[in-house]
């Protein structure tokens, strides 16, 4: 029965895309003044549910009730008019205009036919004050951190759209701990004002920190809605995956096996490798059968280090030696020929080529190695892609699907496949498990150790310390664009955190 407290009722939502049933008869409800987590693996249907709610995609079946009234959301704009606002993971504001303009874009106060800037700034200031934020609103938005930008986005949705429902889609994925706490303060405040908040995240800690109820989706179906306080974490994970966590244990076992290999050969050696403004000179080596983890906070130089070794950037000091040969020309193609591969951090911008098929994405690097005139036959292309689709368990009806239609975890696997197809010796994985679900994470970690077992060298970069500890044989800690320390795998997490934070 409908709860009178409910601000939103979605019933029997069904949505299918070509070849995929994305949502099947899903119910979802939201109360006033509630923070409601929407949880599920990649491809579980979270984004689709949000898209239906915000009018990006019309549902095939089902009804949406807002404040007891049946509504049909025609477009994202319409959803805003109805009081449903969304703050996305990637901020969709304009970074080159001022904070105040961003907040009131399209709703600027006018005076004598032109914009009343004074009033605009005052109004924007007030809007931010409500969230306890005090910044110079005349500065361009781009001057502020992502966290502040997100708050500005929230302020805009409250001010302009007078939101009743606020959807936060992975708002914390690029925030550090302080920023996250600040965001949570804002969320609590909004909650107090009776706004219903839908919170989507992969960080289970945060789910327990801030939410009241949890709705779990799996494979497009509703698993259930639970009170956060009465659902232990292990059970939650079990509900998300539909299986237990033994796979993660297997990861640890596989790592132990790798430890015993002693006949390692040095493969990569960096001496004083650095680039001004990117990363300070760093000494570093990597051998066969080895996983070296890179730990460090956001901005500590993790990605910069990866880009330097892979040849995206050209170092201005130091030397890089691979198999005893000094590298003189730095470019991805050069690295490809030297057997180095990089799965970049930003999957969407630097990894996938969305409008190409899975097959074409997988053969891309291999083909780059073969050059312009040795084109793989269609048959060979299918063989290669089929092989890696099976090996990595990429979920797709056919290799001819466009990559942009895959879920995040599967896209990551496609990029991994692209590089594995070139049979690299050194694999640099920059945040390979970012934004993908627990099950796929375990799979990728296991795969990393298997590859090391086969003799490959792997540089494993991750912002999740647990993951680094679980998979790495050695751990390099970066701080302030410098190498802070190097540990063997038996180090405990606390020591690393202290090193990352600069407490000795």
């Amino acid at each position: 029965m409908a709860d009178p407290q409910n601000i939103l009722n979605m019933r029997g939502i069904t949505k299918s895309f070509p070849g995929v049933l994305a949502l099947e008869n899903v119910d979802f409800s939201l109360r006033k003044g509630e923070v409601h987590a929407l949880i599920g693996e990649n491809g579980a249907g979270k984004s689709t549910l949000i898209k239906v709610l915000t009018g990006v995609e019309p549902p095939d079946e089902g009804s949406i009730e807002l404040d007891g009234k049946l509504i049909q959301v025609r477009s994202p704009q319409h959803s805003q008019e109805l009081g449903i606002s969304t703050v996305y993971q990637e901020i969709n504001l304009c970074t080159n205009i001022s904070v105040a303009e961003n907040i009131l874009l399209g709703y600027e106060p006018h005076r004598f036919g032109s914009i009343d800037w004074k009033k605009l700034n005052i109004l924007a200031c007030q809007a931010l004050k409500k969230l306890d934020i005090d910044i110079d609103v005349t500065q361009p938005l781009g001057n502020f951190s992502v966290a502040i930008q997100q708050m500005v986005a929230i302020a805009r949705s409250l001010e302009v759209a007078s939101a009743k429902i606020l959807i936060l889609d992975e708002p914390t994925s690029s925030l550090d701990i302080n920023e996250t706490n600040r965001l949570f303060d804002v969320i609590r405040k909004l909650k107090g004002e009776g706004i219903g908040i839908i919170f989507i995240t992969h960080f289970l800690d945060q789910v327990y920190q801030i939410t009241d109820r949890i709705t779990v989706l799996r494979n497009g179906r509703l698993v259930g809605t639970y009170h956060t306080a009465s659902l232990p974490r292990v059970e939650l994970i079990g509900k998300m995956l539909g299986r237990s966590l033994t796979e993660l244990d297997e990861v640890s076992k596989a790592k132990l096996m790798g430890e015993h290999k002693k006949d390692r050969q040095r493969l990569v050696e960096a001496k004083g490798l650095g680039l001004k403004g990117s990363i300070e000179p760093i000494d570093f080596e990597l051998s066969t059968n080895e996983v070296v983890g890179i730990a460090g906070l956001l901005g500590s130089g993790r990605t910069e280090m990866a880009n330097l070794i892979f040849g995206i950037d050209t170092p201005d000091t130091g030397s890089l030696t691979i198999r005893g040969e000094k590298i003189t020309r730095f470019s991805p193609l050069e690295s490809l020929e030297n057997g180095i591969a990089l799965c970049p951090e930003d999957r969407k911008a630097e990894g996938i080529v969305g409008d190409l098929t899975i097959r074409e994405n997988i053969i891309l690097a291999l083909q780059a190695r073969y050059g312009w005139f040795k084109f793989l036959t269609t048959q060979k292309q299918y063989e290669v892609s089929q092989k890696y689709i099976e090996l990595l368990g990429i979920v797709t009806p056919s290799p001819d699907q466009l990559v942009k239609n895959l879920s995040g975890g599967n896209q990551q696997k496609v990029i991994l496949a692209r590089w594995l197809a070139t049979d690299p010796q050194v694999l640099i994985l920059d945040e390979p498990t970012r934004g993908i679900d627990v099950g796929a994470k375990a799979e990728i970690q296991k795969l990393v150790l298997e590859l090391a077992e086969e003799g490959k060298s792997i540089l494993f970069i991750s912002s999740e310390l647990d993951e680094v500890l679980r998979t790495s044989h050695r751990i390099v800690v970066l701080r302030d664009r410098k190498k802070a320390a190097e540990y063997s795998s038996d180090v405990n997490g606390q020591t690393i955190i202290q090193t990352m934070a600069g407490i000795s």
Binding site: R369, F375, P397
Partner: protein, 359 residues
């Protein structure tokens, strides 16, 4: 997997579907209102008629569209093809004419039917000039990192000036009959230009589809950064596309100057860049780059010229023709908008359902 998709849908999603529908519509219109349009006679052993005219006239545009397709697929655009046509035409005609355009034409010159330079060298110089122009554009875009529209604008503006320098500011006329062959000759009853289009089309097709260049071009057009990270030199891919576009422009210049027996640097190939862009758009290649189809672009060029010749057939005066073309552009753009397509798809699908499953 593939066979699960209904045949009707597969046909509809083919890149050639909409261009062919558009072409068919124009043909149907002609069939109803100008039955003479399809009449093909034989005059002096050559095929003769509106359809042959369409092909013969469309040949230069088809060629330019081939090059333009590749450039647009990389996410760029080449505004200079019209100017490239002028440069290559000027190059060819100057090398032939003994007088460099300065002297009055006497009966002697007409009767002599001579050339200053051997014909093969004329053709090579012609093509060389175009390739060089394309290479220059490619360098500016790929190495100079100048946005394609600005980079090719330079040659678009400067190109006709260069062509005038080459011809010494004169309108060149060619009296050397072998040069006329490219634009006016016939082989087995069909215009030579059609054979040239077929050869260049096959060359382009083999070059992009039988090597990895086509895949790389599409990849660069969709996501240049990912492509670079995959070890592909997106610079060289762009350089290739622009150079090839210059090459296509040069051949078009050869045919056009041969067709009119001369070269007016100010007017030859005027607005070809815009027509070519339009042909590519009709062919379904996005202006933002990515997936492309050479054949669809050729059909696009054919649509433009079928439309033009149709207008001529109906006696529309030449100065009103541009307005007519504007209508064509409007109709095509509307037809191609997502919104219209969704509606059309819905209508077709509903009809399909009423007739039961299609396979």
């Amino acid at each position: 997997m593939k066979n699960n998709i209904p045949l009707l849908k597969r046909v509809r999603e083919n890149r050639l579907f909409w261009p062919l529908v558009a072409l068919a519509l124009i043909f149907i219109f002609d069939a109803i209102f100008a039955p003479g349009f399809f009449k093909i006679g034989i005059v002096e052993g050559h095929l003769f008629g509106n359809l042959i005219d369409v092909f013969n006239n469309a040949a230069p545009l088809m060629l330019v569209s081939l090059g333009m397709t590749l450039v647009i697929a990389t996410g760029g655009v080449d505004l200079s093809v019209g100017a490239v046509i002028a440069i290559s035409a000027a190059m060819g005609t100057v090398l032939i004419n003994p007088a460099l355009g300065n002297e009055l034409i006497t009966n002697d010159i007409l009767a002599a039917n001579t050339t200053n330079t051997p014909l093969w060298l004329v053709v090579m110089a012609d093509l060389g000039a175009g390739v060089l122009c394309g290479f220059w554009n490619g360098l500016l875009v790929s190495r100079g990192k100048i946005s394609p529209m600005v980079a090719t604008l330079i040659l678009m503006v400067a190109g006709r000036g260069i062509a005038q320098l080459i011809t010494n500011g004169q309108i060149m006329t060619v009296y050397y009959t072998p040069y006329w062959w490219f634009g006016n000759g016939f082989i087995w009853g069909l215009p030579v230009s059609i054979y040239i289009v077929v050869v260049v089309f096959l060359l382009a097709w083999v070059l992009v589809r039988k090597t990895s260049i086509g895949l790389f071009i599409e990849s660069v057009g969709i996501n240049p950064k990912s492509t670079y990270y995959s070890g592909i030199s997106e610079k060289n891919i762009k350089l290739f596309a622009y150079t090839f576009c210059g090459f296509c422009g040069a051949i078009a210049g050869l045919i056009l100057s041969s067709y009119i027996h001369g070269c007016d640097a100010n007017n030859i190939g005027l607005n070809y860049e815009l027509d070519a862009i339009f042909a590519v758009v009709i062919g379904g290649t996005l202006m933002s780059g990515g997936r492309f189809s050479l054949l669809a672009s050729v059909v696009g060029a054919l649509i433009i010229w079928t439309f033009t010749i149709t207008m001529y057939t109906f006696g529309v005066p030449a100065n009103a023709l541009l307005a007519g073309r504007a209508v064509l552009v409007l109709v095509v753009i509307l037809l191609y908008s997502d919104y219209t397509r969704r509606i059309l798809n819905k209508i077709v699908e509903q009809k399909g359902l009423r007739h039961g499953p299609t396979n």
